[in-house]
């Protein structure tokens, strides 16, 4: 395994880092500490800059007009893009664009014309509806939403929970059970237009996350055509799982970025803040926290890049991704917790970004598969495969 960063990757990292420091951080000073969006004019200006740099749509494959970057490069970028107050859930306030629902790369030509290309152009927004009130960690068993064939249509009934921004979306991917006897092979993904009769956003669900709210959905005799199936009947679990696994790598990298930013703040503060006649940096208790932070950051980075490297080489990467996701999300939580301790009372104020990172990082240990599920994945690989 060779994880040396290439010259091209080094230039990309330096470019993104400079962009965050020179554009995002100054823009953020003017915003509310919980803000997730830039003023419209500012966003237009920064998107134009990102397009000029050649990074717009940074996670879109080259065949769909994106830069076609590998997961190692994207992980390095994600680490840089997260290093600001809103960086965990709104990295660079979305000015790098992105593929959105990557599952749509599996769509047929008609579906791509209707949904994928408008989404990539920023004309349509979609939601991803997998998790249900009955659970999200074990979709193969927890999905109780049903889709029953009726002539050329399917009739969908059920509910979904913790679905990001479904109330403002134009369409969504809805996973439903089409064959109760087949377990994970009986789950199918449907593309559903918002506003389809029977589709209802029941409520907004407020969480620890400042950036984006979640919603609860209900489907009552919602009728969709057979042509709304994405990827084939019974292939829903595979579509969801492959993309969820792949997404866990930049998800982990974003956590590392926040940890890096918190560590930089901690070191700076420790060198300036004096107590009992000496700076914090000379106190062993603080030194050990800084060292433990560095160990957490480096461990997370190596595991994440190793997982990304295996994915880029086309090798199985599920086990490595589970490990990277588990370690990075938990380590970043510890780093920010120590950073708050080092900053004392200021650490828990909205004057600093630490309190927002502390809240939002807590979700990372649950989102995209909680730590316990990552352990289940690894145990399965270690013991039974």
């Amino acid at each position: 395994m060779d994880l040396r960063v290439s010259d091209d990757q080094r230039i990309i990292v330096q470019t993104v880092r400079r962009f965050v420091q020179e554009q995002i951080l100054p823009a953020e000073v003017e915003l509310d500490p919980d803000a997730a969006e830039l003023p419209a004019q500012e966003k237009v200006r920064l998107v134009a800059m990102v397009k000029a740099m050649g990074f717009y749509g940074w996670d879109i494959p080259a065949e769909y007009g994106g830069p076609g970057l590998g997961l190692v490069t994207r992980s390095l970028m994600a680490e840089e893009m997260a290093q600001h107050r809103a960086g965990l859930y709104a990295p660079c306030y979305g000015v790098f664009g992105g593929g959105g629902l990557a599952q749509l790369f599996e769509a047929n030509d008609a579906q791509k014309e209707a949904y994928l290309y408008p989404m990539l152009r920023g004309e349509k927004r979609g939601f991803f509806a997998l998790t249900e009130p009955s659970g999200g960690s074990d979709p193969a068993r927890a999905i109780q939403t049903t889709a029953v064939r009726d002539g050329d249509d399917w009739v969908i009934n059920g509910a979904k929970m913790f679905i990001s921004s479904a109330d403002t979306a134009d369409f969504g991917l809805v996973f439903a059970r089409t064959d109760p006897a087949k377990g994970r092979g009986g789950i199918t993904c449907f593309i559903v237009d918002a506003g389809t009769p029977g589709f209802m956003v029941r409520r907004i669900v407020h969480t620890l996350r400042s950036a984006h709210y979640a919603t609860e959905l209900e489907f009552k005799d919602m009728r969709v055509p057979h042509g709304a199936i994405l990827g084939g009947e019974g292939r829903g679990f595979g579509i969801a799982n492959e993309r969820l696994t792949r997404n866990r790598i930049p998800y982990a990298a974003g956590c590392i970025g926040v940890a890096v930013a918190a560590q930089a703040m901690s070191i700076k503060h420790a060198k300036l803040r004096e107590t009992f006649g000496d700076v914090l940096a000379n106190r062993q208790a603080i030194q050990w926290m800084i060292v433990d932070n560095a160990i957490d950051i480096e461990t997370s980075r190596w595991l994440t890049l190793a997982a990304a490297d295996k994915a880029d080489r086309g090798e199985p990467f599920r086990h490595e991704t589970a490990m990277a996701k588990l370690v990075s999300t938990e380590a970043a939580g510890r780093v920010v917790d120590r950073a708050i301790q080092i900053h004392g009372g200021y650490g828990v104020t909205k004057d600093l970004p630490l309190e927002r990172w502390y809240r939002e990082l807590r979700i990372r240990r649950i989102g995209e598969g909680p730590s316990e599920v990552q352990r289940v994945i690894m145990a399965r690989d270690l013991l039974f495969e």
Binding site: D32, P33, D34, A35, A36, D167, T168, A194, G195, T196, F199, M200, V201, R202, R203, I204, H206, T207, L208, R209, S210, H212, Y213, K350
Partner: protein
């Protein structure tokens, strides 16, 4: 979910009793027609108390008479929800 609290008539005395917490608020005219949906965020010097007083001192809102608020540390997402309610939510939402 919209704010369902009753409207309160604003006066300096009433305003002084508003908490300095983070949260969302609405301002209305004497008939209860909403004029502004806003929040007291992390940069507001005196939280809801200061932000509501500022709204009633705003020359752009001469007809402001009533207000109601909700203390809420998730003020950004709650504010978005209220704005969406005020603008008229799509038919496929429950509001």
């Amino acid at each position: 979910m919209p704010l369902h609290k009753p409207w309160v008539e604003f006066s300096p005395q009433v305003g002084a009793r508003i908490p300095g917490s983070l949260g969302v608020f609405e301002v209305a005219d004497a008939a209860g027609a909403t004029l502004r949906v806003a929040y007291a965020g992390g940069r507001s010097p005196f939280g809801l108390r200061g932000a509501i007083a500022a709204a009633f001192a705003d020359p752009a809102l001469p007809q402001a008479r009533l207000f109601r608020y909700e203390v809420n540390s998730m003020y950004i997402t709650r504010w978005k929800e209220l704005v969406r309610s005020a603008e008229g939510a799509p038919a496929w939402t429950c509001e």
